[in-house]
Subunit: 405 residues, 2 copies
């Protein structure tokens, strides 16, 4: 199956328009803070959300609006997470009503997201004042939307692909913002995906729920899980394929295209982690189960000591072994091989749980690259998994320690 990367982000699929403007929630007047994505027609919709017991009001409202499996628009603000506020639900519903007011789309067909400071009341006034401008400017402006949802992100995150189902050209696009639990007070991973594929809400939810297990749930910046994490997808059927309503060949193709986009966005989120200087990919092979494979690579990616060593380009494989050992996964510690890989080469540092003599010079070269893979072979089974993270740097501490000073 051919998956081809194309331009256009969330506007690549037929019948989707987007926009992003500055409405004034953020004081920085250059930074857009208000985004809208609209489908020409009502679309199948699905979502996955933070497991944190403390949930932002937008998460509660979006879940409610997606109960029937359909949506037509996504409204998002940055600069305030609308979380831990006594009037949060009312404000989140208010944002959806603003969309209904300008577009006629029923407010319960609107997905809502907020990201930024928590515990400070979100005022609808600036959004009311700019909703018409936001709506009137809708067009092929995925990038404006991607920019408007950014908080401490240093780069916008967009992706789109094209593929074929039933001889029809189909597209899937997405935008995302990160990066872990982020500054100001805390923030959010927000991911919004669009597609013109025809698929039932049930199958769309299934595709998304399975997908995040190998994509966004495998990303860690600092191990903290935000109150507002949300990933939503709308699929409006305008590609004209036969509607996917079972776990058939078309579903599998769609799932592949989805995974291409979500993995790409996952890597972008990890690489742009707060203060990060490099992307760390950890691949585990030879695990006894998928769960063990995922548990091990997430434990390694999350270890502060591994992350700090990566910042220093220090081949401290002992820390990798240690993070495997306390992960809780069922592994045989006397079978573990560890190899560091990057475009500068590869160096095996540990075999059967014991250290190898290796070239420190080569290891330094390998680890100095801005994308490094830690390959762990558990040699105990046939399961594998990959997780993505970043290094721990002075800037992470600076960003998260100094915000309000």
């Amino acid at each position: 199956m051919l998956i081809k990367e194309i331009k256009g982000g969330v506007c690549a699929p037929q019948g989707f328009k987007a926009n992003g403007v500055h409405c004034g929630i953020r004081k920085n007047k250059v930074k857009k803070d208000f985004a809208l994505i609209v489908s020409d027609v009502r679309a199948s919709a699905a979502g996955v959300y933070t497991q944190n017991l403390v949930k932002g009001a937008p998460v509660v409202v979006t879940k409610k609006h997606l109960t029937d499996g359909f949506a037509q628009a996504i409204i998002v603000n940055s600069g305030n997470a609308n979380t831990c506020n006594s009037n949060g639900i009312e404000i989140a519903e208010g944002m959806c009503s603003l969309v209904e007011g300008v577009s006629g789309i029923a407010s319960d067909d609107v997905i809502v997201g907020s990201t930024g400071v928590i515990g400070q009341k979100l005022d609808l006034t600036p959004m009311k004042a700019h909703i018409a401008e936001l709506y009137d400017g809708l067009g092929d402006r995925s990038t404006a939307a991607a920019e408007a949802i950014m908080t401490t992100d240093t780069v916008k995150k967009e992706v789109a692909v094209q593929f074929v189902l039933d001889g029809k050209k189909c597209r899937l696009g997405g935008i995302a913002k990160g990066v872990g639990m982020v500054c100001p007070n805390m923030a959010t991973n927000l991911i919004f995906l669009t597609s013109d594929v025809a698929i039932t809400p049930q199958m769309l939810q299934k595709a998304l729920s399975v997908d995040v297990g190998s994509s966004f749930n495998m990303v860690s910046v600092d191990g903290d899980q935000s109150t507002n994490d949300t990933c939503c997808i709308m699929a409006n059927g305008l590609a004209g394929n036969t509607e996917i309503n079972s776990d058939n060949a078309s579903f599998k193709r769609f799932a592949k295209a989805l995974n291409y986009c979500t993995v790409k966005l996952s890597k972008m989120l990890a690489k742009d982690g707060e203060g990060a200087t490099k992307l760390i990919e950890c691949t585990v092979t030879g695990a006894k189960s998928l769960k063990a494979a995922r548990t091990v690579c997430k434990s390694v990616i999350k270890s502060s000591l591994v992350k700090a060593a990566m910042f220093g380009a220090d081949a401290n494989w002992g820390r990798v072994l240690c993070a495997i050992g306390y992960s809780g996964a069922d592994v045989d510690v006397h079978k573990i091989d560890v190899t560091f890989i990057s475009r500068a080469g590869e160096v095996k540092v540990c075999e059967d749980g014991y250290g190898l003599d290796f070239s420190e010079e080569l290891a330094k070269k390998v680890l100095t690259e801005d994308e490094v893979t830690v390959l762990i072979d558990l040699k105990s089974g046939n399961f594998k998994a990959t997780a993505w993270g970043c290094d721990l740097t002075y800037d992470y501490v600076k960003i998260n320690g100094d915000y309000r000073t």
Copy 2:
């Protein structure tokens, strides 16, 4: 019951002698790296160890030697963790044999510990050359032993108390080194306790196993669990009390004295965390269960975002709430109160899960102190717990990123 702090560390109890010397495992000739603690008579002994699947050879050997519940000496080196080495067991046994050689104490009555770099072979030669010097110098030298087990610790950690059982003056002392998973490559929490109380091995093990649940297991520096963590205690009975052989009043008194020492050492370990500028104590009250109370305060103490905010003296209570929310504990998020406390005052920042208006100036003053308490009231039950940690600083990243460069 009166527990009085006294001097003397592990040599405060009757019949214990200690020493620490430089034998040459470490290149720095000023730093002691070889420690010995000996009891005049064979003592009841108990231990708790790392749960990491990757275990240092000394952990394996100590466990084996304590199977019968008795020991008479503790031998420890710093500078090399003797972990992930193919000949590790042989070397750890060899260290115990060195003790037997100079003292006549059976090698399987010796507890052994190692801390420092992992994956590099540990050579017995320097220890062979200095074991006589170490043994001959035994005396009231707890401090020398405390210094010899330090790695990146910036201060030695010693404590001792005196209390009364059956009208007999009893003593309990301890030394410790930290601090989390530590540099060079990784290291260890090592804690060695001594007492002159008469107690059966079974009751001693019970006291220690219960105790660590509210002391050393509530300390987090970076969330990484070392391969070599070990806490051992010897009790030689020379105080002359009636031997404790059940869960009686004397047992409870002994457990209290033990907890006094272990909590004191726990705070020292947390405050001296790598790069730390302050001790963070998190106390949770009103929990539905002890497990929930412990889970919540450990989650808060471990959060990189909370730790970074504490470094910046930033009253980011949202991060505290977030860490509670993802802890996995059963809490009602709409009942949570959060207060920051230090010797500069206290400031309540969150009530019933919503933010309060508070003085940023006062909050800054409170959080700028070098010992800060985060008090969380869950208002849902009668259980409470306390955990200790430290802030996340530039120096943590520096220490752990730059070691081998």
